[in-house]
Amino acid sequence: MDLEFGPEYEDFRQEVKDFLRQHGAKSPIGTALRSNETISWQKLLIENGYTARTIPQEYGGYGAQPDLIQSRIIAEEFAHARINPGLGGQGISMLVPTLLELGTQAQKAQFIRPTIQGEMVWCQGYSEPGAGSDLASLTTSAVLDGDNWVVNGQKIWTSTAQLADWIFCLVRTEPDAPKHRGISFLLFDMKTPGIEIRPLVDMTLAANFNETFFTDVRVPKHQIVGARGEGWQVANAILAHERDSLGNPNITLARLNALIDLMKTETVNGEPLIDNAIYRDRLMKIQGRVMAMRFNELRVLSSQLNKDQDPSIARMIVKLQGTELRHDLEGLGIDIMGEVGLCYEDNPHTRTGGSWQTQYMFFLGLIIGGGTSQIQKNIIAERGLDMPREPKVIKPSPMTAQKGGQ
């Protein structure tokens, strides 16, 4: 057991701190997409290797070897100094790794540099109204017509669609193939004719997401990643990555500390709520769970570094446990305040920017999104505990069924 990163990393940490001290003032607050400020900050970060760190230089990245500890130190120091860590978003976090692995040389050359520099913004076209948990049943179609795919259908949960330049999109290209085999992964410009975007209001009453409609959208044939019909495999590699990022225990810890502060300052009949033994016990229960998840994350990191233990269950459970924990934590923040906990939006008595209610609902959304808790439990049982999959309801053919029984 060694929780130190070692002296060589302490030097690296010092470098990051020095950079932040020297340049932090230039850091834009918020991330106005495509603003000069955002783009020049992003370029500075790339130059110094604080973002796009492992992307090859030929595609505009910094070109370093992957090093989990360096990445963690960068994240920690930027968070600690509360300085903008550069652009995220689905283009950078999901598409770029995919292109690096499976894109053609031309695709890499065309898309990676503008994407990581913040000049090209992407949205993701995966879910459909009829294809949620069962994503592979998607029906948005792409039919080859000469040198173009002609795309028709509807996507949902396309966040930032209204701001995006391009979309990476799953479409059905082989309608007669088994459902996982008929999907392709297309890239196309959101200014192509035939695309309509409607904002999708959610329960927080914000429009964080969109519905996107495609009518005869023509996409050049070569704008496909991976082979025709292999889009499911392309997408799946990224999805696992997305799931990992939900339920980060360090953010949860920050919220826990905000909750403790709230309980010290809010009162009922003049008594601070932290003095209420029942609320305090709920707080302590949550603190224990937060601790467990933080240490679990350390173990996952360590197992990635040292390759000495199998972290598969420890990783699989993060989304399920992390989102439920945040939902419970935010709910306690509401509960202790009584009616004041109901405040929202422009209410002058809203505490902590209304975040308790917003986050309570948003984390219910995350319990559902990115694989519902039910899907997560299936995954833990089937992949983590090696329990059998749900039996097929109808066997593909009687011959196979009989063979299976022999």
Binding site: M203, P348, H349
Partner: protein, 355 residues
Amino acid sequence: MKFGFSEEQVLLQDNVNRYLHDNVPLDRVRAFADGGTDTDIWQGLADMGIAALLIPEDQGGIGLDALDAAIVAESLGYHVTPAPFLGSAVMAPTALCLSDGDHSELLEALATGSKRVGIAFGEAIGRRNGASVTVTDSTLTGTSLFAFDADADFYMVADVNKHLFLLDANAKGLQRRHLTTVDKTRRTVELCYDGVPAACISEDPRVFEATLDIGRVILAADTLGAAQNMLDQAVAYAKQREQFGRPIASFQAVKHMCAEMAASLEPCRSMVWYAAHALANLPPEARLTACHTKAHLAEVGKFVAKTSTEVHGGMGFTDLLGLHYWFKRCGSNRQWLGAPELVREEAAALQGLTS
């Protein structure tokens, strides 16, 4: 022995449900949430006698009791109805009928729905940061938070001694400030008092308590209706939503989520009925049952609200079906008139279990 509704009560329930079904579809709720009024809804209900339900016949009312009010409240919750029922038809009439003085004029106006009385009881239930009500020589100074309803003509205010005061909404020195909450099916206000003249209508804590008790039971009934609706919606959605080639209602995980909702919620129905019945008919049990009903429905409502949303998947998180109006209604019923932990402490105190 009959644990259930009389024929008249079944009729009342049917009538209210039919009215709400016809007149308060989700779009009507959305219109209120976007800044519209509830005046037409309330007038329609008042025309059916709902505003007069608890007002004695000799004061122009109908003279029914808390169980009838609970029946109405369940329907209002089922339809997430914007309406000043809790204050104007339940708590205010209860307090006025028990308190000193002649309030027949106001009661008659309440009975027809032409006047509305809001409630500001926070000071006597649990004073929060930013609130404080001081009474000197029949004038009020300070602030009440979360008075419901925002459009009342009068407000009934409790101070820390459980004395009740009645104010004109247009009284000099009174400022109303609209307070946005998550629950947009109701509107609450902050009342700022700068020497507002107030009529003290009761110095008897039992009047405050009886008013609070019925308020809590009626809120619980509202949650019962809202949660029942969420369960119904979840079951209906699960039956028609297909994934993996079959309705999600055929997956054991989804079935069990629905079964757990039903198993938690079904006894709540009996609990609300009993608590409402006890208010008028079983005085020794009334207060304790009201506390437990308020707290228990708060917990079950929270569970059902979350679980139903989960059954709906991403659709539950959007505004498309409007499910969140029910979610938030359950959420605000939980917090109003005493959050569950505080109410359970009251329940313990009523039994002499606190030191």
